[in-house]
C-alpha cells in the first residue's frame, strides 16, 4: 500500500499494480506474456504479503474465468495480459458482460495480428471497443497516456466496474507498460465494494433467498429485455466520458490520438505551435464510451481533424462517425515495430494542414 | 386403505426404473397418462399390502415421484432398517 503523496519513479506496469493494490484489489489472476510480465511478477510478490490472492492460472482462458468467479462474489479482482492473451480472455469477458459482473482487465497490448511482435501497437482498438467477444455487449475502456494516468485510471477502473456492474478494460501498450516516469501515489482508495453483501453478489445464501448469476435467457422475450436494459446501461456510461483537449480553441486542425500516441502527438504539437502552426490535440481517455459529443462540438466549430494511431486505422472510424455532420478526418497510421517519436508526426500534420514542408 | 407407497403421477415419466428394483415386484405400469403425456406406474390395491417400505423405488427414481412411509411399529423386522436416503 502506498503512502498518500508518495513520489516514485516506476514503470507503467508497476504503476498499474500499485494503483490496483491501493484501490483494494483482492484477487489477481495472471499468466505470463510479454510485455506485461512485470504485472503478474509484482502481484505475486505483493498480494500474498497483504493476505490477498495471487494465482498464476494455467492459461489466459482460465485466468479470465477465475476473474469471473471472484467478480461474481463481488470482490475487487483483476487480470492482465497482452494482445494474444486478451484474445483468449474474450470468452469470459462476454460472459461477464452478459452476467453483469464487475471485473478489471488490463491489456498491455503488443503488435499483431497473430503473434506479431512484442513492441508497442494500438492494433487492439477494435477488439477492446467493439466487443472482442461474442454477442451484443460493451465494456468500459480506459486508455492512459502517462504512467501517472495508468496509476489513476486503474483505480477508476474498479470504481466504474462496480458502479456499472460491467467489465472495464485498461488499454495500454508496450510504451505505457515499460516506460518509467515519476508518479504520485496514494490517491486510489479502497471503497465499500469489497463489503460482503452488495445485494447481488454470491456470499453463500445464509438466511436469504438464493442468488443466481447467469447469462442464459431462454424464455420468450427474456434476452431481448435483458439486452435492451444493457443498452440503456451502456448509454448511461456517457456521463463518465473522459478526454483531454490541448490547444484546441484556436486550432485549425485537431489531431485525435489516444494513449501513448496521444502523448507523443502532444509533443509534436507543442513543437509545431512554436513555429506558429495552429494545431491542437483531442485525446480520448475513455475509448468506450467515446467522446463523440465533444468531437461533434469541435467539428461544429469548424475544426478539421487528423486521426493518428499506431495501427492501420481503427479509432478513425469512431472519429469520422462523431464528426460526420460537419467534417471528416484524415488518417495517419504508424506501423508497429518502431517507437514513434514526435518528429514522425510532423509531416502527416503538415500534410493535413495543407502546408508543404 | 393405508398405502405405504404413493407415486406423484404428475412427476412420473414412466421410465420404469422403480419396477426393476422393487423386491416384491409390486410396481406395474398403469394404462393412465399424466398431463405431460407420460404413462405412469402404480401399485395396485390388491398388492399394496406387500410393500415393505424399503424405499428402493424412491432411491432409484430420477424424478422424485415416489413417497414412502414406514409401516406401523408392530410390523415385520425388515422395516427397522433406516431407509432414509442418507
Amino acid at each position: 500500500m502506498s503512502t498518500p503523496g508518495e513520489r516514485v519513479l516506476i514503470k507503467g506496469n508497476e504503476a498499474i499494480c500499485r494503483g490496483a493494490v491501493d484501490a483494494g484489489c483482492q484477487c489477481f489472476f495472471g499468466y505470463p506474456i510479454t510485455p506485461q510480465n512485470d504485472i503478474p511478477e509484482y502481484m505475486s510478490k505483493v498480494m500474498p504479503n497483504l493476505g490477498r490472492v495471487f494465482v498464476q492460472a494455467e492459461s489466459e482462458v482460465a485466468a479470465a474465468n477465475m476473474l469471473l468467479g471472484a467478480a461474481a462474489c463481488g470482490i475487487r479482482a483483476m487480470t492482465s495480459s497482452s494482445s494474444p492473451g486478451i484474445s483468449l480472455k474474450q470468452e469470459a469477458i462476454s460472459y461477464m458482460g452478459g452476467t453483469e459482473l464487475p471485473a478489471v482487465i488490463v491489456n498491455i497490448s503488443r503488435g499483431g495480428p497473430g503473434l506479431g511482435d512484442i513492441g508497442p501497437s494500438q492494433g487492439d482498438y477494435y477488439q477492446a471497443v467493439k466487443g472482442g467477444g461474442h454477442g451484443d455487449y460493451r465494456q468500459f475502456v480506459l486508455a492512459p497516456g502517462t504512467v501517472q494516468e495508468a496509476y489513476d485510471l486503474i483505480g477508476k477502473a474498479f470504481d466504474l466496474a462496480f458502479a456499472y456492474r460491467n467489465p472495464v478494460m485498461l488499454l495500454g501498450d508496450a510504451i505505457i507498460g515499460q516506460m518509467m516516469e515519476p508518479v504520485t501515489l496514494g490517491s486510489n482508495k479502497e471503497t465499500e465494494s469489497n463489503s460482503p453483501d452488495l445485494g447481488w453478489n454470491l456470499t453463500g445464501k445464509g438466511q436469504r433467498d438464493p442468488r443466481l448469476l447467469k447469462s442464459l435467457h431462454l424464455t420468450d422475450g427474456a434476452l431481448a429485455g435483458h439486452n435492451l436494459r444493457l443498452r440503456d446501461k451502456y448509454a448511461s456510461m456517457e456521463k463518465d466520458v473522459l478526454f483531454e483537449n490541448f490547444l484546441v480553441d484556436d486550432a485549425e486542425l485537431i489531431v485525435v490520438a489516444f494513449g501513448s500516441i496521444g502523448r507523443i502527438a502532444k509533443s509534436t504539437i507543442r513543437k509545431m505551435r512554436a513555429s506558429g502552426k495552429k494545431v491542437g490535440l483531442h485525446r480520448p481517455i475513455t475509448l468506450f464510451p467515446f467522446p463523440s459529443r465533444e468531437l461533434d462540438k469541435l467539428a461544429a466549430a469548424g475544426k478539421r481533424f487528423l486521426t493518428i494511431e499506431h495501427n492501420l486505422g481503427q479509432m478513425v472510424d469512431d472519429v469520422r462517425l462523431a464528426v460526420r455532420k460537419h467534417a471528416d478526418s484524415d488518417f495517419y497510421g504508424q506501423m508497429p515495430g518502431n517507437l514513434p517519436t514526435p518528429e514522425d508526426f510532423e509531416q502527416p500534420i503538415l500534410a493535413a494542414l495543407g502546408v508543404n514542408s | 386403505m393405508m398405502r405405504p407407497v404413493e407415486f406423484r403421477e404428475d412427476r412420473c415419466k414412466g421410465c420404469a426404473l422403480c419396477m426393476t428394483v422393487c423386491p416384491g415386484e409390486i410396481i406395474t405400469m398403469s394404462s393412465r397418462f399424466n398431463t405431460s403425456g407420460y404413462k405412469v406406474v402404480e401399485v395396485r390395491d390388491e398388492v399394496v399390502e406387500e410393500c415393505t417400505s424399503c424405499a428402493a423405488c424412491a432411491l432409484i427414481c430420477p424424478d422424485y415421484a415416489v413417497s414412502v412411509w414406514r409401516k406401523p411399529a408392530k410390523a415385520k423386522k425388515g422395516e427397522t432398517a433406516d431407509v432414509h436416503a442418507g
Binding site: 484477487c27 482460465a62 477465475m66 461474481a72 470482490i75 | 405405504p4 426393476t20 432409484i60 432414509h84
Partner: protein, 260 residues
C-alpha cells in the same frame, strides 16, 4: 399412512419441481445425492454452486443455493476464483463429460493439481446430451453417436478417457472416486462418495472429485431400463467403480461428521 414416518424424504435444499431431464436420465438422481449431502453437512447456507454447460446447465434451478453459470468447460476455473475470493464458502461444480473431460480438461486438471479446496461432481453419461447426442471424450469404443455414426473408432478418435484415474494421479486431489446409480446398492455407495468429495475440501485436504456414471436413454437410443442395464454390462467393466484416492482414510472420513 401419510401420517406415519416417512421412509424417504427429499432434501430441503432440493427444489421440489419437475425436472427438464428426459425419462430415465440419472441427472435427477445425481443432483438429489448432491442435495442430500449439502443438507447433511449443513452446507446450503454457505454453498456456492458453479454450473456448467450441457444438460447440467440447469442445476441452479434445482439446488436452492447461491449459483453462478460458467462458460463451457470453465467451471473449475470459476470455482477457483470463487473459492479464493470467498474461502469460507463450500464451492462445488456440477459438470458433464463433454464439459469436464473435453473442453474443460485443462481447467479440471489444473484445478485438481493446485488442490483447490472445491468439490467437482462429474456426471459421465458418455455423450453430449443437450446438443443432440454427439461423441464425447468418454464415448465407448463402438458406441454410435451423431458424430461417430459408425461407432467410435479407437484408431481415429482414441479411447474413452478415464477421468477419475487421471484426477486421482494429481497431487492436489484429496479424494477421487467413481460411482454409479444403476442399483439401490450403487446409489447408497454413490451417496457416500459424494459426501466424501464434499468433506475432503472442507477438511482442507485438497480437491474432492466424484464421477457418477449415468444413463442418457434418449441419445443412447435405448429405453431407460435398457440404458440402466448398459451401465453394469458395458460401462462399469471399462470404468471400474471405486475409490481411487482418499487422503482422509475411512476412519478420518467417519470422524468428520458434521451436524445435520
Amino acid at each position: 399412512m401419510k401420517n406415519g414416518k416417512a421412509a424417504f424424504t427429499l432434501p430441503g435444499v432440493l427444489a421440489d419441481i419437475p425436472t427438464h431431464y428426459c425419462p430415465g436420465c440419472q441427472h435427477g438422481v445425481a443432483q438429489r445425492l448432491v442435495a442430500e449431502c449439502l443438507d447433511e453437512l449443513a452446507l446450503s447456507e454457505k454453498a456456492i454452486c458453479i454450473g456448467s454447460i450441457g444438460c447440467s446447465v440447469f442445476i441452479y434451478n434445482y439446488l436452492k443455493v447461491d449459483s453462478v453459470e460458467a462458460p463451457h468447460g470453465r467451471a473449475p476455473a470459476v470455482a477457483t476464483g470463487v473459492k479464493r475470493a470467498r474461502p469460507e464458502a463450500a464451492v462445488f461444480t456440477y459438470q458433464g463429460d463433454g464439459d469436464l473431460a473435453s473442453i474443460g480438461m485443462a481447467e479440471t486438471m489444473h484445478c485438481a493439481n493446485r488442490g483447490e479446496r472445491v468439490t467437482i461432481v462429474f456426471v459421465n453419461n458418455t455423450v453430449y446430451g443437450m446438443t443432440g447426442g454427439q461423441m464425447a471424450p468418454t464415448t465407448m469404443v463402438g458406441q454410435r453417436t451423431t458424430t461417430c455414426p459408425g461407432g467410435r473408432c479407437a484408431d481415429n478418435e482414441g479411447e474413452p478417457i478415464k477421468m477419475t484415474e487421471i484426477i486421482a494421479s494429481l497431487g492436489g486431489t484429496a479424494y477421487a472416486a467413481r460411482v454409479a446409480v444403476d442399483s439401490v446398492k450403487h446409489v447408497r455407495a454413490a451417496k457416500k462418495a459424494v459426501r466424501r468429495a464434499f468433506e475432503a475440501p472442507l477438511n482442507n485436504l485438497g480437491l474432492g472429485f466424484v464421477e457418477i456414471l449415468a444413463t442418457c436413454p434418449t441419445n443412447w437410443k435405448m429405453t431407460p431400463v435398457q440404458a440402466n442395464k448398459r451401465i453394469s454390462e458395458e460401462l462399469i467393466p471399462y470404468f471400474p467403480l471405486g475409490t481411487y484416492k482418499n487422503l482422509m482414510g475411512e476412519q478420518a472420513a467417519e470422524g468428520t461428521e458434521v451436524e445435520g
